[in-house]
């Protein structure tokens, strides 16, 4: 069971996060549980919580989701207030998939008193043994997309628009279809069809493909590699995935007329209705 904690949130937000974790862990078969006691595999906080004890967060080697107030540009591991359930759900799923494919970290020391409630204004002490900071350096999204034919499993720094000094994980490299695959390439495989569909309009990485399909990233990468070998993909500039996990909307691009926004809850409801 993965343990999600909250640091520095108001009791109202703690209750909301707890409810969402319980809901999505049940509906999505995720192995997350909300806890107020260490150790944590991941934590949710807000700006004030982080500012209150930056040392603890620097030492914490798990994912940190920061609830932020609008306006503000999307960032890695952030969800803007008001908290949308689907965004929070996507973050849980992303981190669930990533955690399933990474080795378990070393046990944490105890920076929080056992059983102490977590609430706003109650920063916790830093752990005694400090792990190195996360290596998942954020990647800025350039204004215009670059296109290349780089192989999906090539070294991340081969991505043309990655900023100097910043590291892009292979799963964050984004590819888009240049042509719909043949029936032979799709092999009548539902996952292949889903992946191809997700890559029709958007450059997308295998991390996010894993989240959206509910399949392991390794499976998604295999098919992405197949598409690449067939010359069906173009690579776009590297982009940090969590920023793209905002609730799906249909927006205008390049002056085109805007389609109406689509609520992800509507999509889920429609899928249920049709028995998908």
């Amino acid at each position: 069971m993965l343990r999600l904690g909250a640091i520095g949130l108001t009791p109202k937000d703690v209750a909301y996060v707890r409810a969402l974790v319980r809901l999505f862990s049940n509906t999505d078969k995720l192995t997350w549980s909300f806890t107020e006691q260490l150790p944590f595999d991941a934590v949710v906080t807000d700006r004030a919580g982080r500012a209150a004890d930056p040392g603890w967060f620097a030492a914490f080697d798990g994912p940190v989701l920061t609830l932020v107030a609008p306006p503000g540009a999307p960032e890695n591991d952030t969800v803007a207030y008001p908290v949308h359930a689907e965004q929070f759900r996507a973050w849980l799923k992303l981190r669930h998939v990533q955690r399933a494919h990474t080795p378990a970290p070393a046990p944490q020391s105890s920076p929080v008193q056992q059983g102490s409630p977590v609430h706003k204004g109650a920063p916790v002490a830093a752990p005694e043994r400090i792990a190195p900071p996360p290596v998942e350096a954020p990647v800025s999204a350039p204004a215009s997309a670059a296109v290349s034919d780089a192989k999906p499993d090539a070294k991340p720094d081969a991505t043309p628009n990655a900023s100097p000094g910043q590291q892009v994980r292979p799963g964050q490299r984004r590819f888009k279809l240049r042509r719909w695959p043949s029936a032979a390439q799709l092999e009548g495989n539902a996952l292949h069809l889903k992946i191809a569909t997700l890559m029709v309009r958007n450059a997308i990485g295998t991390e996010l493909l894993a989240v959206l399909t509910g399949h392991p990233e390794s499976e998604c990468r295999r098919f992405v590699d197949t598409l690449h070998r067939a010359g069906l993909l173009v690579e776009h500039a590297a982009h940090a995935e969590p920023a793209g996990l905002a609730a799906p909307t249909v927006q205008a691009t390049d002056g085109a007329p805007a389609a109406p926004p689509v609520r992800s809850g509507l999509l889920a409801s429609l899928r249920r209705h049709l028995g998908m």
Partner: protein, 167 residues
């Protein structure tokens, strides 16, 4: 025309579709009746939302309707009939008719009667799209099968889910 719009809507609609079929006098199409207005179906979701399904006439003279419907649509399914004399020309006509919307509107192409009429192939359809600089899902479908119609809808939802704002 003849691709199965009415049948597709009937396959998934919660209500009996409202159809506007009349006797077909087009000798090139082997069907007794064809749509001259709008077919209409509806899905009533558990959260109270309603999804409306519109089938528009396939003839180009009705293209004024396409623009109206595309304006508020969540997605577009283009059904082609592979037994028609020139299915690729039919598709091109729809792509032209919806050109103003296809940059933003999720779309999928369902090719019917591929089992009895193997040409053009799905690759031929993909060639046509590629020549126009477009990428759209192309699926062989039998719209009498509910699962095939649901797959078309699922393919639209997948495009929406991937987040159109990211490009």
């Amino acid at each position: 025309m003849g691709a199965g719009k009415t049948t597709a809507i009937r396959a998934i609609s919660d209500v009996a579709p409202i159809v506007t079929d009349v006797a077909n006098h087009d000798a090139s199409v082997a069907k007794a009746r064809t749509t001259v207005g709008l077919d209409y179906g509806m899905l009533a979701l558990d959260n109270g939302d309603r999804i409306r399904l519109f089938g528009t006439p396939g003839q180009a003279r009705f293209d004024f309707l396409w623009q109206i419907l595309a304006r508020e649509a969540l997605g577009l399914v283009i059904l082609t009939d592979n037994s028609r004399p020139d299915p690729l020309a039919d598709l091109a006509m729809f792509l032209d008719g919806f050109a103003a919307s296809l940059d933003t509107l999720p779309c999928v192409i369902g090719v019917g009667r591929l089992d009895s009429h193997a040409h053009p192939t799905l690759d031929d359809y993909a060639d046509l799209l590629e020549a126009r600089g477009m990428v759209l899902p192309i699926l062989a479908v039998d719209v009498r099968q509910r699962a095939d119609v649901v797959l078309l809808i699922d393919t639209l939802l997948g495009q929406i889910e991937s987040g159109l704002e990211r490009n």
